[in-house]
Structure formats: structure tokens, C-alpha cells
Subunit: 674 residues, 2 copies
């Protein structure tokens, strides 16, 4: 082994596998960057933040083989020693910024030291999100002000930022300017800056500081959900939800639009209501996480088009009628204070883009989370509300549309319909032989059978969306209603629960002793018709997109939104809401819009991705598509086994004739709860 000092040494970094030569004596933080591996660092190499920890495995490259790696590394510096005295460090760990490469090295970069981390968030759906937030912190040491230097503190600091972080052209939020001089002086001219997109300074804190937080919010018509995240680690520190207070001005979207149309102050009242709710959510989330709302400096917002417009202070009136023109569809970057949001004084808001009058930022967020544009399989995403938003596509092309399902799936326009709330019947089974029902109400664990004793306070108050779908499918499977949706006139002979008033039938689902009103809860002929219209619209929309994409089958179906979580995919398929698909490939993803907002909060590239997908998605306007009406009419009936649902083969009644009942396979019974 020659005794000469090499001018360059070889370095390999794991797990990336990157390797290359760097100058002898190179700082490992710089060396890693040189080789394309970005290490975490807030203090900018000052051995104070401890974020750039690495482990040295071995140094056994052919050229300078060694037995111990120690000799290839510079000894521990005073700064690193002092860091170790104050903080716990795992054995074998070193601060990359305190190490010089004095020989070949194999460096292992632990997960937490990788600047673009993959994290598995624990709240809501577990998703892998690459952490690269729009808002991040840097530590800077500025030159002191002197009589000889006539420049401003900000300009002096700017020079230090350019020197230490290679960032130029930064602006300072004017509301933050008053904190600059006090922070510089109390930090002895060292400060931690919180940056937005490496372009604007949102906060100046004295000395070394940690803590930048963000809120990801999905503003739903009914529920508003906020995730408070640590922008450095991506961790969800708190998730808070609240009822959308606009509900008091109108239960569903269109009634809120009507309210804004009829009352001159309507739009601004709706706007103030949601802003108040968001402020309340932020406050609660901050309290739960033990931080101040002043520490929240970024926010990503998703919501349907009406929520999006109202939130921005826009009158949603144009969304209430053709041509359903959005005021703006592009993503927006705002200051929280301009919307009256009480976060950090300089806090930013990123509003995700919309696609069309009925396809909003919530749908873009869902696409961001589910990524049809990132995969090969043909993915169908269905998000059911007053309008169903339907997305179909893969990496080649993504199409979307909205379909006017009406509010039946949300329990509106149903005789005993109601929102999903405690007391609502959410699941239903009907015995195909006895025609007796069993059902579950929200807020009570047990299935309720006729004649059961119920605890005080547990009573059925109505039927919510998932309940009415299951009820109608069960009535169909039991032969009580026909494929065309009519009550079978022979059914009353089989059970007194089925009654006719003239030619209009109904089924008594909950007995009066089990209801809050002491009146029975029934499923009526008009309920069946409302659901038929809704599901036909949904299915017609799906067919339209399948035609647009030129496919006759989808590989996977995702049911998005709260409704999607409650609905039983099998019932949805029997009803003909969604096309045939292997049931194992049908999944409910819950609040995927909230997840999408969280992704946009934690990853700035995801914001560009969302803007791109919103721009590139092919939107099909159902209202002007001629085929839509044809598909709609064809989809009104409940499908038979002869319809193209091979995955449901054997689970559907053969074409009913008179009152004859055909037994279905046992599989269905096994799927039923015990």
C-alpha cells in the first residue's frame, strides 16, 4: 500500500448506491450532494442541528483497501463533540457536516437523514409521501451591522443566504419585516428562516429554531377535515374534523347555490361561515399538537367547485346553471391573511386546481392520491355526491366527467332519507324467504331484528345513502321488486311488510317500536325510482368514459369519499352503479381528497403534478354528450344475470316471472354478517 496521500477518494452512498470520486478532505455533506444524494440539514453544516447523521460502514474499495474505516474519516470536531454532549446519538453515527473524507468510504444514510424522505403517515390512509415541502427552514449566520457597512440588515442577511445556501432573489413578506431586526439581534445575527418555495421568507426566528407546520384541508359539503402536519418529517400531528357550518344555509350544494342566488349577502355569509370553521379547526389542531397557530405557515386546500368558490369569496351562482362556468380553474397561491385565516401572519395557502364546473379540486386531490395517471391498469374512480365525479384512465390518458346523480345517494329525496348521522339506517339485509329485515343504525353496533329490545336512546331515525342502496338491492334479491324497479304485486302475499296503496308499493323496514318518531320507516316505490335515476346517471357516466377511452372493462375500481367507505361494493355492483369488476379489485379509499391535500402540502412537486393532471385530463361534458342519454335510459333497470356482470354470476335472481323466487348461491349468505 503506497504511503502517498490521494488527491481524490472514492465514496459510495447507501441505500441509493450512488458512488463517485470526491476531492480528498471533502466535507461529507458536500460530497454527498456532489454525488446527488441530498442529506437533511437545517443548520447548513454548522454541526448544530444533527439532521445529517450518517453511519460509516466500511471502506474497502480496490484502490485504497483498508481494514478500519476510522482512518478514512477526520476525527471528531469540537462542534460534533459538543452536539453529542447535548443530544443522544446512536453508536456509529457521525454528523456528515463534521466529517472529512480522508479515504474511500461506504456511507449509509439512514432514512431520517435523507432530505427527500419517504414517509408512511399514520393518520388517515397510510400513504407513501416523499417529503419535499414548499415551506422549509434554513439557519443562516449573518454579518453584524457596522458603521462601515451602510446596507440594511435584510441585504446583509441576503448576502449570507446567497453565500451559505446558494439562494438568491428571496423576498421577505412585509408583515415579517418588523421581526427581522429584533430576531437578528436576539440571535446574535444568526437566524432561522422559514422559506416558501425558496423564494419568500415567511418567518425569521432568532438563532437555531425548529418547527414549521402545515394544514391539509378537504372542505366537503358536509364535513371539513384538517390534518396538521410537521412539514419537516411529514408526521400528522393532529387530525380534526367538523361539520361544514354552511349546512345551516342549505343541506346540499345546490341549495347553498340557491341561497347565494336569492340572498344578496348569501355568498359572503357562506364564505364567512367556512372561514370561521377553518380557523376553529386550525386552533383545535394546533392545541392538540401543542403548537401555536402562528407556527402554521402553509396550507393545502381541496374541495368541490362550490366549496372552492365560496372559500375564495366567489359567488357560486355561475356554478348553479349552464354552462357551469368556473371563475378560475388553475391552482392558486394565496396569503392566508387575505382570506381572513388566522395562521402565521405570513402563512401561505395552496388551493388545488379545479377541472370543470362540476369536477373540483377535491377530485384533483383524489387523482393525486390515487394516481390513475401514474399506472398502467385501467382505473375507475367514483366519488358519489349530488354529482358523481367519475375518473377513468391510466398513464396514457385520463378522462373524467361529472354525472347528475341527484341527491338520492345522500339520503335526500328519499321518503325517510337522511344524512349519515347517528340513528340513520346504514346497512340492510332482507331474508329472501321470510322477507324479514335486519339493519344497522349508525351509532349502535348490533344488527337490529324485528322484535329486538333496544337500549334507551337507540332508535332508527331514517335511512342514509348506503342504507337505501342496500335496502333496494336486498328487496330486489328477495324478489320484492323487479328488475325494472317495480314492487312485485305478488309480494304482499309473501309478507305483510309489503303493502300496496293502489298500484304503488312500499316495504316496512323498521317497525314503529324501533323508530324515534314511533312511525314505521318504509322504502317506497318513489325511493326506488330516485335511486334508479341516480345509479343510471352514474353508470351512464362510467360508460361514457369507457367509450371515450375505448375500453369495455376496467381493471380496478376505487370508491372515493365518505359514501364510498360505507357502501358495500357488491351491493353497488348488483344495483348497477358500477361496472363489472373482480370484487377484490374494488376498494373504498375514504377521504382520498384529504390525502391528496396532504400530499400537496408535503410535496411541492405534487403541486405541479396536480396542476399538470388538471390541465391534461380529458373532461367529457355529460350534458352535451348525445350518448349519455342513451346510456342513461339503458341503465335504469337493475341488471340481470344476463347483463354483463360476469363477476356477479350466480348472485343475481334469474329474470323474475310472477312471484317465483329463484334461490341464489350460498356465497351471498356467507358474506352476510353472522
Amino acid at each position: 500500500m503506497p504511503d502517498t496521500t490521494p488527491t481524490r477518494v472514492q465514496i459510495a452512498l447507501m441505500p441509493s448506491g450512488r458512488k463517485g470520486q470526491v476531492p480528498y478532505g471533502a466535507n461529507l455533506l458536500d460530497a454527498a450532494r456532489l454525488l446527488g444524494v441530498e442529506l437533511e440539514s437545517i443548520c447548513g453544516g454548522r454541526q448544530t442541528c444533527g439532521k445529517c447523521q450518517i453511519a460509516i460502514e466500511e471502506g474497502h474499495f480496490p484502490k485504497h483497501a483498508i481494514t478500519s474505516s476510522a482512518g478514512h474519516l477526520s476525527p471528531m470536531s469540537g462542534g460534533e463533540t459538543s452536539y453529542r454532549e447535548k443530544h443522544a446519538m446512536l453508536d456509529g453515527r457521525r454528523l456528515a457536516c463534521a466529517c472529512e473524507a480522508l479515504g474511500d468510504l461506504l456511507i449509509v444514510v439512514p432514512e431520517e437523514s435523507q432530505a427527500r424522505k419517504q414517509i408512511i403517515a399514520k393518520a388517515a390512509t397510510d400513504r407513501v409521501i416523499e417529503i419535499q415541502p414548499a415551506v422549509r427552514q434554513i439557519y443562516v449566520e449573518s454579518a453584524e451591522a457596522t458603521l462601515e457597512d451602510h446596507h440594511g440588515d435584510w441585504e446583509r442577511l441576503g448576502a449570507a443566504i446567497a453565500d451559505q445556501w446558494k439562494l438568491t432573489g428571496l423576498t421577505l413578506d412585509p408583515m415579517v419585516l418588523p421581526t427581522l431586526q429584533p430576531a437578528l439581534r436576539s440571535g446574535k445575527f444568526a437566524v432561522t428562516l422559514t422559506l416558501w418555495h425558496d423564494r419568500e421568507v415567511l418567518r425569521v426566528q432568532p438563532g437555531y429554531a425548529e418547527g414549521a407546520y402545515g394544514l391539509a384541508v378537504d372542505v366537503g359539503s358536509t364535513t371539513v377535515v384538517a390534518h396538521l402536519c410537521d412539514l419537516r418529517t411529514g408526521a400528522v400531528l393532529a387530525t380534526e374534523a367538523t361539520m361544514n357550518p354552511q349546512v345551516k344555509y342549505g343541506e346540499d350544494l345546490m341549495s347553498r347555490v340557491s341561497y347565494a342566488m336569492m340572498d344578496k349577502q348569501g355568498a359572503s355569509r357562506l364564505h364567512r361561515a367556512i372561514i370561521t370553521a377553518l380557523n376553529d379547526l386550525a386552533k383545535r389542531a394546533a392545541e392538540r399538537a401543542g403548537i401555536s397557530t402562528d407556527d402554521i405557515l402553509d396550507m393545502a386546500l381541496a374541495g368541490n367547485t362550490v366549496m372552492h368558490h365560496i372559500l375564495l369569496g366567489l359567488d357560486p351562482v355561475e356554478l348553479g346553471g349552464a354552462p357551469f362556468a368556473l371563475a378560475v380553474d388553475s391552482p392558486l397561491d394565496l396569503k392566508a391573511r387575505d382570506l381572513g385565516l388566522k395562521l402565521g401572519v405570513s402563512a401561505r395557502i395552496h388551493v388545488l386546481p379545479c377541472i370543470a364546473g362540476h369536477v373540483g379540486a377535491d377530485n384533483v386531490a383524489v387523482q393525486l392520491a390515487e394516481g390513475p395517471h401514474r399506472q398502467d391498469e385501467m382505473l375507475l374512480i367514483v366519488d358519489v355526491g349530488t354529482n358523481a365525479e367519475i375518473v377513468l384512465g391510466n398513464r396514457e390518458k385520463v378522462t373524467c366527467c361529472s354525472s347528475p346523480t341527484g341527491p338520492a345517494f345522500e339520503g335526500a329525496q328519499i321518503t325517510h332519507g337522511q344524512r349519515a348521522a347517528p340513528g340513520a339506517i346504514e346497512r340492510v339485509r332482507v331474508d329472501p324467504v321470510t322477507l324479514e329485515p335486519r339493519y344497522k343504525v349508525i351509532g349502535y353496533e348490533e344488527w337490529i331484528e324485528p322484535g329486538a329490545e333496544l337500549p334507551d336512546g337507540v332508535r332508527a331515525t331514517g335511512i342514509c345513502g348506503s342504507g337505501i342502496i342496500e335496502a333496494i338491492v336486498e328487496l330486489y334479491l328477495a324478489g320484492i321488486i323487479d328488475s325494472d324497479g317495480r314492487f312485485n304485486e305478488n309480494a304482499p302475499e309473501r309478507s305483510p311488510r309489503v303493502r300496496f296503496n293502489g298500484r304503488v308499493g312500499e316495504y316496512m323496514l323498521a317497525d314503529s317500536v324501533h323508530t324515534a318518531s314511533s312511525n314505521p320507516i318504509t322504502v317506497t316505490q318513489s325511493d326506488v325510482r330516485a335511486i334508479q335515476l341516480g345509479k343510471a346517471a352514474l353508470y351512464a357516466g362510467v360508460k361514457l368514459l369507457m367509450a371515450e377511452r375505448g375500453v369495455t372493462q376496467v381493471d380496478r375500481i376505487v370508491l372515493a369519499g365518505a359514501f364510498g367507505s360505507y357502501i358495500d361494493p357488491r351491493h353497488a355492483m348488483i344495483l348497477g352503479m358500477i361496472p363489472d369488476c373482480d370484487l377484490s379489485q374494488v376498494t373504498a379509499v375514504g377521504n382520498a381528497a384529504g390525502d391528496g391535500a396532504r400530499i400537496a402540502l408535503l410535496n411541492r412537486d405534487a403541486r405541479s403534478e396536480a396542476a399538470k393532471l388538471a390541465r391534461e385530463v380529458v373532461h367529457v361534458q355529460t350534458a352535451v354528450a348525445a350518448e349519455f342519454q342513451n346510456e342513461f335510459v339503458g341503465a335504469i333497470a337493475i341488471p340481470h344475470a344476463t347483463d354483463p356482470f360476469p363477476h356477479l354470476d350466480g348472485q343475481l335472481p334469474a329474470k323474475t316471472s310472477g312471484g317465483a323466487i329463484v334461490r341464489r348461491s350460498q356465497r351471498r349468505r356467507m358474506n352476510q354478517p353472522a
Copy 2:
């Protein structure tokens, strides 16, 4: 003459003299642009705004000589005819946008149709300002929203802007977003947009609209002046001034800084006071001009460093002591609403840059107005306040400094000193033989002589800055005080107005019957000392810059600020405040800072120019310059005829010895008022 239609025709434009060939049939608005002559146009060539009017003189180019220009121009269009029916147009005028070049043309572009107009503003100082404001209006016709087009109105409008005005990447102030859809619909999808730097939309108005206004403001310690300007024409529509309400927290700058230091709420109280004053000024100016404050969409702000900081909500404490660090020196672009200014909701503010702790945005504005960096002659600009800001230079290099003159020139630290306000003695003459005084008080036209009968309400209340300077110079010229500033012990023999208390002399300027307090107003030995210290500091600063620039003489002197307007240059020169210079080359420019702000308001390039000059000016720190103390000590005495003031030759007393009086030339008497 050949009968063939030419493919190109020749066009000449006056007064620019530009000429060249353009395609046959070219629209004249486009043709002019092609040849580098920008015509005014708000409607973008739709024959509705009437801004692009031209006169066709003749078409007699060699190639296609004609006798009448009519045949070389397309006939009047329907749009132009319709415009003429509604608006008065001078004979021979045509709308360039409605004309096609069908032959050679000599086009005269009237002043008002030139896009970059030179205007002579009528308010304040008359100055030639090239009108090219940061805020301008454009008229755009957007495509209508349809069911087939799923894009937002903003995106559709953006496409129209790109098409019709070649502007892309515009953003829309979020506070303006709510007005977009109503404006588009009430304007039948045609709107007038007000743009900031062709980057951001500040306002959306239905159809064709005119009217964008701006405020140019100089925030002085004592007075705040605002010019309300039409941003299209540059016309000053109203000028309003008000006392700076911060005066109640401290008469001069340093006492306000002290107030902010001593009272925790001080800085924010000072801030709110000036914001309230600015809102009041804007309201008054808008009322006078007959517009709404909502129409004010831009503002240019100048002020000294303390005013600059307080206005921005910054605690001025750092400016109160060495090293006098500015928080920021660069120019700032803010939203008016972020400062609580009640202009248009999206109104912009441009804050001019500062140079150093004592050389503020007001000085930059003065430089912008007076342009030392644009000329060959060596220009000295002196702006006297508690600190004198001194600028010396020419296009090669400009230097500046501030010099601690103390508040004596503002009437403070003077026994009977006061601010320039009604009742203050502002002009003084002393008869060199009788030693009897004459003086003028602010608010009364006549010179007051001893024994005069004064109307009720007219009484002297004190001596302001210009008064004390003239008094001391007159006392010196009359031999009452010596060159070293001491009261001559023999003077009491010549007049009872000179008295000694021990060895300390004083001069009775106003008799008790002429004063508001019924006590005489005197000039004391300590007053002379205070003025000597002040003028020595000023002169030392000037000498420092002359040394820095390597010159022994200046070509021209500009006295800036209100004080400069009141002071008699000859007295200032006799006192030794300013260096020797041909008196005809000494001018007072009044509120040049306000003019500079107006230039920055009306011309966006001037903002860049101001930023550049602030960056490039060489600042000399008097507090650390060793020569400053030498120059200061050497400048305390009042100069003799033997001092280097050749232009004052014969106007100064020879070195006094004992009580002997030397007659001065008659020139001085001729300069005195009759």
C-alpha cells in the same frame, strides 16, 4: 404613374421621423409599432377608445407620388364613424387602428397619442416626466363560457389577453377574483383590466372603462404631501398636504425614536398615526379630484429612514444609535391593504429604496428628480434637517453622506426657536449703521419695523430656521457678532438692542409689543453657537464629499426640502453653510422628494433607476471619517472675505477689529426688499 397595386408602401411618422416600408393594407396602429412608434391604445385596436388618433399630412414619397392623401388611406370604417358620432374629433384626425395604408403616408402623431408621452406636470415643480406607469389599463374581449369549454373564466380571459395583448403569465389579485365573473357577464365578456407591471391584474371592470390613479407621497417628519395623479396622462389632479400627526409624539425625528424606545407601544402608535394620516390624505385628494379612493391603484412612497421604517411598521430603534442599521434598504413592492391603507383593494405600493441609516428614500427621490447621475456638471444637493443629507456628483460617480447638523436649523435648541409656522420670524434684516432690525413673520406679508402698528392677531411667536440663519448673518454683517461667533463687546455702545449679561451677549430682535408673549424675542450667544455647530457639520460633510470626488469646486448647488426654499442662498453662503458657487447656480427645488416620488409613480423605469442609483451611490460615513472632525473644527468660524468664497467677494466685512465697521458694497442693499 403605374396602375399596379404596390405590395409595400412607405410610411413616415412625425415628430419621431421614423420611416420605413410596411405591407400594403397594413393597419396603421400595427404599422407604427412596426416602425418603433408606440401609439396609445387602451381598446387594443377596436376603434372604441379614441386614443390612437393621428393626422395624415401628405403622401409624397418619390415612388408613388400622389396629390391627395385620401386615396392612400382606407375609407372610414363603421367603427370609426360610430366613434365620431359619440366623441368630438379634430378635423383631419383619424383613428390609426381604423386605417389601412393603401399608399405612401406621412403621419403626424399628436402629443396625446404618443404612448410614452412627455408631460409637463402643473402641480408642484414643473418637470418633464415620461409617462410609463407601472399600472395601466387594457381592454380585452374574451370568449364566452360554453358547455363545451370546461375551463374557468380566468383561463379563457388569459387566452384572450395572450392573443390580443401578447401578455402571458398574468396573475389575478385574489381579492379581485370575486369581481371577475360579474364583470365579464355585465360587460358581455369584454372587460377592462388594470395591470401592475403587466404581471398582475389589479382590477376588472365591465366593458370599456378608463381611469387608473396613483398617489405620490413624501412622508416628511413635519409635513406629509400627496399628489394624486392620472396614471394615463400623468396629470396631477390634486395635491394635499397635512401635518405629520407623529409630531405629537416628538417634534423631531430623534425624539420620535426615543418615544419608540421608551414606550413599548410607541412604534405601533407612530405607525398607526401615519397610516391614518395617509388614508385621510388619499380621501381628501380623491374627493378633490372627484374620484373614489377605490380608483387609486398605485402609490409611490418616499420618506427619510425613520419615516420609512415607521411607515412599514418597523421599530425605528436601531436608527437611534450606532451603527444606525436599516432593517432594509432595497425598494419594496407591497399591497396597500397589508399596511392598512384604504385605496383600491388590490392597490400596490412602491417604497423607494434607502441608502444608509441617515440617508433615506426621500434622498433617493431627490436624486431621482435632480439627476446628478444623469449630468456632467458637478452637482451638490443639500437637504437640511436634523441631519443634513448631502449628495455630490455627476454621471461618473455620485457620493453622499449625512451630517449631524442638529436640530438648530429647524428652530430647535434656539432660545426663541420654533417650527416654521404662522407667527415665526422667517426673514431678518439688520441695518448695519443703526443696528435696527426689520423682519417678516409667516402669515403676514409686510416687513415689520420697530414701532410699526400690527393688525390684531399678527404677532411674532418665535424664530424659525431660515429666520435664525438670516438673523445671525445680518448680525455678523452689521459687526454685532465676530467671525468667531462671539458678540462684539463694543456693540452695546452702538445700540441698546445689544446687551451683555456678564460676558454673554444677546440681540433684541422683536420688541415685546410685537410678540405674542409680550416678551421680547432675542438672538442669544447660545443661538449663535448652535447655528455655528450646525453649519460647521454641514460644511464639513460637503468638504468630505468634495475630497471623495477630488474636486475643489462645485458647478451647481441645489437646496432641497422646504427649508431650502425659505433660506436665502446668499445668507447661507455668507454663513458658510454651503461652499462658494455662482449665486445664479444656487437654486431651491422645494419638495424635490415629492417630485421624485411622482416620477417613480408615473414611470416604472424610474423605479429601476432609483434602485440602481441607491445601489451605486458611494456613501461616506461621517461618523468614521477622520477628516470629518478636522473639517468640522475648521468650519466653525463664519468665513471672511479671505476665505475661499470668491463669489461673495465684497459682500463680507473685512476682519473686524474692535468696534470698527467696514461699509459693504451697495449690492447688498439692492438685494434687500424695498
